[in-house]
Symmetry: D3
Subunit: 191 residues, 6 copies
């Protein structure tokens, strides 16, 4: 069903060829471990500086140490992407929620309506903040931050929730702007 699935995006921006050794090694590693090179990486590979800036920030936000688990960060990613209705990010990160949680229904709920999931107080507060920040960031006040502290989050955790929420508000718009297409492999994963 994907539009021209052989292309990562709607733009005519071919990857640097040949790729620098570092990049090629990174893409080979993806192929080995994930069975694919995620199209987002291919989309940025027309300019290696942009690719590197993107992956450095991605890895820091989603994978570095944090009071938020990797699953929690993926849950935020999907909720934000669902509000923005980003096809690429809902598909790719929805699969990540299913895989990390072992709960396919949880992945679907993050896409469809996070309020349908059976979340504890902490995770509900986290996702409500991400929703608020995505829809009406200008109305954020100290009481919103305090609600997170009351739910058990530290100031550092608040920064991390804000970072993940912000990051996907960026990538959702880049992906939708250029019609980024998810690798077909995601759809059947961890169902």
């Amino acid at each position: 069903m994907n539009k021209k699935p052989e292309q990562a995006t709607a733009l005519d921006l071919p990857m640097v060829s040949p790729l620098p050794d570092d990049t090629q090694a990174y893409f080979d590693l993806c192929q080995d471990k994930l069975g694919m090179v995620p199209n987002v990486l291919q989309a940025y590979a027309f300019d290696i500086d942009k690719l590197n800036a993107f992956t450095a920030m991605y890895n820091d936000i989603m994978l570095a140490g944090s009071g938020l688990s990797k699953l929690e960060r993926e849950m935020i990613a999907v909720v934000v992407s669902s509000i923005n209705r980003c096809w690429y990010c809902q598909v790719a990160h929805g699969a990540a929620v299913r895989a990390l949680s072992g709960d396919p229904a949880l992945g679907e709920a993050m896409v469809m309506n996070f309020r349908a999931a059976n979340l504890d107080t902490r995770q509900l507060a986290m996702l409500e903040f991400a929703e608020h920040l995505t829809k009406a960031s200008a109305e954020t006040t100290e009481s919103d931050r305090q609600a997170l502290r009351d739910a058990g989050f530290s100031d550092r955790d608040i920064f991390d929730i804000a970072s993940v929420t912000g990051f996907f508000n960026m990538t959702n718009r880049v992906a939708s702007a250029i019609d980024m297409r998810p690798n077909p492999d995601y759809h059947a994963q961890a169902r």
Copy 2:
């Protein structure tokens, strides 16, 4: 009028102390050239990896070679920040538009209503795309990209418009989430 202007944000996340030599040198350079260290840098300096990831992406998107001029990228930054009503980004990047253009009224128009500015077809198309992507990215279609091509933009330029738009949709939310406060120096600049 700023809330506790001595603090960069509402979070209790002090800067690493002492700063690594590289970071200290970068902050010294800012102080020399700008007369201040922008608070956004101080806000990220509780974690040097995050600071570096942020500045690397910022520098690539706003300062690297592009078919968009630095002024055009700042215009997008302010229009996006105005839609999201981000206090920090409107103040800091509004000043940049005034300084780079030498036209204080242009900076105000980007903040208040870009349609009031006397823009050429190309810049109007660019800002309308940034607005659309900020407000309703999910409804982007090939005709939106074609409108940019018809206004003279290349596919690479489209990527860059999307990147700047996305980036400020990220930073607006991070800044609002943590109540980032602009350095007072910006207000009177280039009036």
Copy 3:
């Protein structure tokens, strides 16, 4: 992950017991053919007149003869339910789109963003009309109907598109109002 999956809804409205013979036979048929009794039927079974009125209208709208295929009616169902973010209807009818089309990605696209699907002109016009009717029905004008006729739909087809769109705007609200929970069996179907 479902909240109290043993209950069909959040309301304390037990099924009539014993069920009338007709109803029991219908539920047995569901169990045989689908492997479950859809929770929506259990939700209405506290009052057999309401159950019968609902199933009569459902069967007429979704299964009776029409210029729209059953798959097309299910596509409308999911697009409407996605706009309204109805958990029950997205899960149940998303599964139906996957099953009827044999294209799991199509089912996901109806949930996530129908514009990402590779639709022909006719089906795109159909879903755009359903979206418009769901979001802003008061602004429907003759030109909207004419757009459907231009895409090949008859006046009878227009009635049917309106009926399916209307029906799910009803059920989405009933399901969300009472927290109707989808049978867990749907999640893994036709992936």
Copy 4:
């Protein structure tokens, strides 16, 4: 002022002719008791199965036994139709509110702004729930249902409020989609 008042809708879907005896008898009864055959019935009469499914559900929801009075159900009908700005339903059911209540101003307030009416706590809670469900059903939570219970409604009443609200969210969209025109007789009734 009505567009082509001689036609019930904008679609070219003539009534079955002759009507089946049952249907003809029902229409004759309407003519006798109401002085007209409501156009909604004429609009569905191109297909008797659809007409019957519609009238069966309508009669169950609006006329069968319920903890909600018939007037209260009509009040919900008008408030929902006002939010959706459905011309047909506001005219026809606005007349019903005026007639059932003997209070013409109440009928106008349901159309114009239900908060202007002098409602008791119970009816205000009922209409606020109907409004919420119409505008943002996905955000319904247990606290919304509890607010209804606190105002004196049973779980069965909650189902009925949801059903009426859902039903008019359906018919509003069908009526707007096909430009259904109210019988002119309604305007002057019960003023």
Copy 5:
């Protein structure tokens, strides 16, 4: 049904007593010609300067010479008041549309959905501009003004459409802010 109909608003701001002779004469004239003193006049009569400023602007905008007929100005008044759901203005000016047009259904359509009325091109363009200005004035561009010129309006007429639209966007908010209550006499007028 009106809340405390004996009071013009929810504020405790009694009329100047005794009224100045001019004001008393004006109120007596209203009583003679309309059978009532409209509550909006009573609401402003706690301060005669405010009352005079209001009536001077009202009379200029609604009654002075214009390329728009008095009926057309009342039609704009009701459409704007309907978008803003102002109880007072819909009741009072809805009555005016019915009286001036001799077409009760036209008055109802202005309240319920102006697109349901059978308007000519000129009046439709006028009301669409008023709607646009009420909902999204910041997006007005030269093409919107040109659409009015193409429909036969002069630049002076455009000013007048803007003035009436603006005026009711003011009074709607004042009336809703202070809960201004319409005189009960309006409801049954010109039905």
Copy 6:
């Protein structure tokens, strides 16, 4: 940057010529005291009755005695104009806030996001009411008025807040409708 700055608006409505003596004297006074004749006055001067009605209401609302200071009324003016993104009013009244307060950052915050300003409880309540009235006046209830009373406002003050808010909801729409252009002198004032 202003479009044709030599013209006050996009309409072809020249000032009465010669101006009546009173008007000329008023314009001369403006030129003396402000160094310019504000374009809004020039815009209305095609019809002296309209100009007089406008200035009478303006002077009463913004300059007459009130429990609100002139600065507070200007703060409301800018917040309303910012929500409506009116170029003329944000420029002209933003300058007034800067001048009256002696705090340039306060003027910017009223334009960009009033929640960023360090306001006391009273002024925050005042601006939140103005925002609410601008965005959703139909949902105003007694509890909104009570919140103002609790913040120290009298019923007369509530009327004045409503009047200023209403007035700029009018002028914003007139200014945007006719593309009213601010005098260039405002931009650099009181920075």
